[in-house]
Subunit: 145 residues, 2 copies
Amino acid sequence: MQIKEAAAHLGVSPRSLRHYEQAGLLTPTRDANGYRHYGPADLRRAGRIRDMIATGFSTREVLAMAPCLSDDGAGACEAGLADLEHKLSQIDRLITDLQARRRTTLERIAQFRGTLSNANNERKDPGHDPDPRIAVPDRVPRRQR
Amino acid sequence: MQIKEAAAHLGVSPRSLRHYEQAGLLTPTRDANGYRHYGPADLRRAGRIRDMIATGFSTREVLAMAPCLSDDGAGACEAGLADLEHKLSQIDRLITDLQARRRTTLERIAQFRGTLSNANNERKDPGHDPDPRIAVPDRVPRRQR
DNA sequence: TACCCCCTTGACATTAGTGTCAGGGTCAAG
DNA sequence: CTTGACCCTGACACTAATGTCAAGGGGGTA
């Protein structure tokens, strides 16, 4: 599969695929004419990279846990595991918050619609009090290099 | 609470807080001397913004769903809701993938350790075959402006 | 009062991801 | 053989997030 088709499948630009490759994250084979060839494994890997990038990882960070990215090889993944779990917890926190906000928002909308449909209902918002806890992620000013 | 303390609580730099403010995401009050004052609501909001940014949203995207960000007000949030659910699904996909990869990685490590502790065990990796489906996010080249 | 630490705004620098273009090759269809 | 649609590399541009510095003010404490 050539780069344009692979990019289309992944929903990214060919430019981005080349960028991932340049960052050392992806190494598609080359056809005799020098064209990049993306096999199924390359597509899976690229999909993971694409998701990582889309979720706030930098290519350097992804590279740091590259061993965890490949389909095979349980090798030197321990190093990246900490980073991975750590980012996972960050994302979990956000997800939880997002879902909570989504729930309360839907409730508000439902209530709003209810208020509209029988306007004489004077029930006030009970105040559902979002979790006031401030989650503190570790400050990593910018990956040293 | 002044900016330095707020930033410390949130795990970001004062510079970033000013940046969020400049992007129209946050509006802390000002003390008589002109210093920014961050109340609990400001901290909660800033925490959400920080998480959004850390998870790949741009300030423009966050701004687009600003109504959904405040503690109160179920108002014009519908517009942002689509974006929000949409990104939520992206994140869900990644989370699922990450958790799956984490599971299999842990399995590999466990197996590796097992292989080490009794080296005469010649059992091969059964090949757990990660989901080959390539999830395709919608291609949004770059938010038009 | 002097000192220190915090604050303000504004400017400039850096980095990452990405778009886009130029100059040139591959290859299949007409 | 020409044409059109791909591909390649390399370069330049843009944007967003962030760091950092300069110039100056606020305010508590020795």
